[in-house]
C-alpha cells in the first residue's frame, strides 16, 4: 500500500505549481499568500488522512482544503500583516508576474470579488462542482451559493468580456491531460 508520504512526494513533485496557481485565484494573484495557502492545506489534509487512492485523489482533498483555509480565515496574523502591507501596493504594480498576461487579468478580476464569491467561482469553474456541492463545501445554503455565483459570474463576464454563463448547467465532462511521470 502506498504511504501518505509517497503520495505527498508525488503530489509536490507533479502538481505543486498547479496547486499554487489554483490558490492564486483566491489570493488576488499574490504568489506568497498562495504558497502559504497551499502549505496550510497540505498540512491540514495529510495530518488527518493516511490513505489516498492516488496523487490525484489527494490533490482533490488539498484543493478543497485550500478553499476551506482561505474561507476559514485561519491565516496567521503574520500573513494578515503581510496582506495589509500588500494591500497598499496596487495590484497593477509591474513585477515578475507581469508577463502572465491573461492570468493576471483574471486574477485582478477575481480580486474584485468578495472572498466568498471568489471561492464559489473557484469551486464551480476550476473544480467543476455543482451549485449544491459548492454550497455544501462552504457551509452555505444552495440559494446563497447560487446568488454568489450568479452575481460573481455576471461581474466577471463584464470585466473579462465573456458570454454570460449558465450556472445551473451541469459541469462539463473534462478529459484530464495525462500527468507527468516522474
Amino acid at each position: 500500500m502506498t504511504r501518505w508520504d509517497d503520495h505527498l512526494a508525488a503530489l509536490l513533485d507533479e502538481r505543486y505549481p498547479a496547486l499554487v496557481s489554483y490558490a492564486r485565484m483566491l489570493t488576488q494573484g499574490d504568489l506568497a499568500a498562495a504558497e502559504d495557502l497551499v502549505h496550510e492545506a497540505l498540512i491540514k489534509v495529510f495530518v488527518r488522512r493516511s490513505r489516498f487512492a492516488s496523487p490525484g485523489h489527494a490533490e482533490g482533498y488539498v484543493r478543497r482544503a485550500i478553499v476551506s483555509v482561505f474561507i476559514d480565515g485561519t491565516r496567521s496574523s503574520t500573513r494578515r500583516r503581510r496582506a495589509y502591507s500588500r494591500s497598499v501596493t496596487p495590484l497593477s504594480t509591474p513585477g515578475p508576474e507581469a508577463s502572465v498576461g491573461l492570468a493576471t487579468d483574471v486574477e485582478k478580476a477575481l480580486a474584485e470579488l468578495p472572498p466568498r464569491e471568489r471561492a464559489c467561482i473557484v469551486l464551480r469553474y476550476f473544480d467543476d462542482l455543482t451549485v449544491p456541492q459548492v454550497a455544501r463545501h462552504l457551509g452555505i445554503a444552495d440559494g446563497t451559493a447560487k446568488r454568489y455565483l450568479s452575481d460573481a459570474s455576471a461581474r466577471l463576464a463584464v470585466t473579462l468580456g465573456t458570454d454570460m454563463p449558465d450556472i445551473d448547467a451541469p459541469p462539463p465532462v473534462r478529459v484530464e491531460a495525462p500527468r507527468r511521470s516522474k
Binding site: L12, E97, F126, A157
Partner: protein
Amino acid sequence: MNTTLEAVLHDALAKSERTHAGLAAPSVRSTIARKRVVRRAAVSSAATVGAVGIGAGAYAVSTGFAPTVAPADGAPASATVSRSASPVAASNDESTSAHDDSNPSPSQNTDTDPNSLASRRADFCENLPLMVAWPEAQGMVDPAWGISYSQPDMEPMFGCFVDHNSPTGDQSRLTIVFTFPDSTGTDLANDKCVDDVGTMTFETHATAETSSARTRTGIACFDGAVVTVEEMLPSDTDFALTDAQLKVPAEASVAMAEQARPLTP
C-alpha cells in the same frame, strides 16, 4: 462575444501553471509527520489509558516509555507516549515488535529509577505551569501524559498531555509541546516563529474541521524554543478556551523550556 467565462478562467489557470512550472515545493513532510504523531497520540490517549500502544501510520506511538520504535520505512525514529501514574510494560505494546536496535533511545529507561528520563519527563509534565498560570485548571488536571518524538530530519520535541478532565470538557485534550528548532526562523507548521530570539510571539489558530476533531492552537516562541498549546475536541463541540487561556499556559511554559530541552530525544 463568443468566449465563455469558463474557457477564460481555465486558460488563465493553465498559463499560471506554466509560469510557475519551476516553483520549488516546500519541505512539509517533517512538519506533517510531527503533527500526525501528536494528533494520533492526543486522540488515542483517552482510549488507551493503561492500555497498549497504537500504530500511528508510518510511525508507532507506544505507552510507558517503551523501547524505540522504528517507522515502517526503516528510518530511525522514536515516538513515545507515557503516563507517569500507570506505566505500561513494554511487553504489552505491540509496536515494540518494530524495535530498532540500531537507534537506541533514552526512552528505554524504566520508570522505577527516579532519575530516569521517564521519571524526569513525568515530573516535568506534572509540574507544568499550567496549574500555576491557569487557576481554573487547579485540581482538574489529571496526571500528565508525555510524548516525545525524534527523527533525523525533524526537530526534536517533547510534550505533555493534560488529560480528559481539562477545563475544556470531558472529551477534549490539551497538549503542550516543546520543540527546539535547529535554527531560528523555522516555520513550524506555519507557526511563524520568525522572531524567536529574545522576543515572545504568540498567536492562535482555530480551524473548523470536517473530520472527527478540531483543534485550536496557541504558539509561543522565545529564544529558540517553540511552545504550542493545542486544544483538541470533537468536531461538534465549540471551542471552550479564550485566547488568554491558551496564551497564559503557553507563555508560562516557555519559561520552563530550558528544563524541557534535556528531556527531548
